[in-house]
Amino acid sequence: MAIGSYALERLLRWARAKSPWLLHLNAGACCNGCDIELVAALTPFYDVERFGIKLVGSPRHADILAIVGGVNKQMEERVRRIYNQMPEPKVVIAIGTCSVDGGAFNGAYNVVGGVDKIIPVDVYVPGCPPRPEAIIHGVYLALRKLYGGDFLGKKR
């Protein structure tokens, strides 16, 4: 469909940025701290749902993959598989120091290291654990990437 394909593309981009679905994955070498801070970001005090973000259970439905924790040997293959199951376009957020580079667990026998050793990462959110505000900022950066520019009113 040649006519209107630009308009259609713009519409799709707008729709994606306004209702991104987020999959939360714990990659193994994690202590849970970032998990609960991510959930706290979804609850009334911080509320990322005002960006239209919804937590989903299946990688097939997700636009954003939020990974917490470094990757351990048991989850290595599973992280790759879950990433491959997600439809394009997809954005990966690495939340917490462990998922950025392995953090405190570097050197343990069952730990591979940061998430970017396994799959490409778009946004890094450091912190141990990062505050919900930092996670929301990370999500915002991911949305910008998904939209291809600043979607909060400014021109691209």
Binding site: N26, G33, P44, G57, R78, V111, P129
Partner: protein, 385 residues
Amino acid sequence: MAITILPFGPQHPALAEPEHFRFKVDGEVIVDVEVKIGYLHRGMEKLMSTKTYVQNIYMSERICGICNVAHTTCYVQTVESLAGLEVPKRAQFLRVVVNELARIHSHLLIIGLAAHEVGFETMFMWIWRDRELVMRLMEELTGNRLMSAYNTIGGVRRDVDEKVISALKKACTTLRESFLQIRKVFLEDPLIRTRFVNVGLLKSRDAIARSAVGPVARGSGIKTDVRADDPYQAYKDIPINVVTYKECDSWARMMVRVDEIFECLRLIEEALENLPSGEVRIPVSRKMPEGEAIGRVEAPRGELLYHIISKGGEKPYRIKIRTPTFSNLYPIVATFIGETIADIPVILISIDPCFCCTDRMEFVDVNSGKVWYMSTSEIKRKYWR
């Protein structure tokens, strides 16, 4: 009907770490369960034996982010008994305050998630709003929301001032009113009662034989609590009431947690009321003597045990950590048998698993060998009536 294998996990829902269960189901009814743990295995015990005692405070904190205060308390207490140290009284009382605050936050978290599991979203949001108040108190008291690093060998890192004490006391009053409402919902709400009552029965005899700990054991009517049986820190000076329920089902296990929150509030108020004056920290040598020590702490999920073997020097020779969920897993695995697929999330959440793997499941049909996936939300949709 043919028996179907239903693998459960390793990827999961709102909260949670990956874990894998393999349910054999006959139609809707579970006939056998097999567990594969270790999706979160990092090799902490080995890693901790290569680090010094001071570094290990931070490592023990990162075993579990939710009960990090219980982990550091237990680690620090074990090292102190290894070295034969007596911690200042004020520090002991402050440890009680921070432990109970962490227990409230952990219990609220799991009660909220339990409401979320049965589809009671309003309750989930409501509880997590109150939990945020507790997190702010933690931040005011320790300097961080979650990973507080409050305990250290020989005492605690920060003293409290009048401002923090009055903020804590004020918050206790507000929280108590709010929790009375939550308790009322758990006692009376038909949605909660239909999903929780008589689901996942664990008889007292079985709970003892299968070595259940913490709220799981207390929900089966066993009066066991490390704070009462084997008092540590200032629990020697503040007597606690052990909450038990005799119903033995998932509802009883949740009610133990709901009632314990009131007990936590009372303990915080009492500890702040009787807070002794003086030092909060004593200087400690980096090197520890040769020997062994066992420390036990009542973490939010049950008994936590550290066993440290030292051969002298700056580093421990071996640290054994037994976390409560590891103990509670086997008792609960047996209670799945005879229940239906729709009850799996409820039973799992009722042990407050430090992993809760409830999001995606893989279904294998034995006859055709076909595998398909299903998320908890889909299961909810499909099986809810």
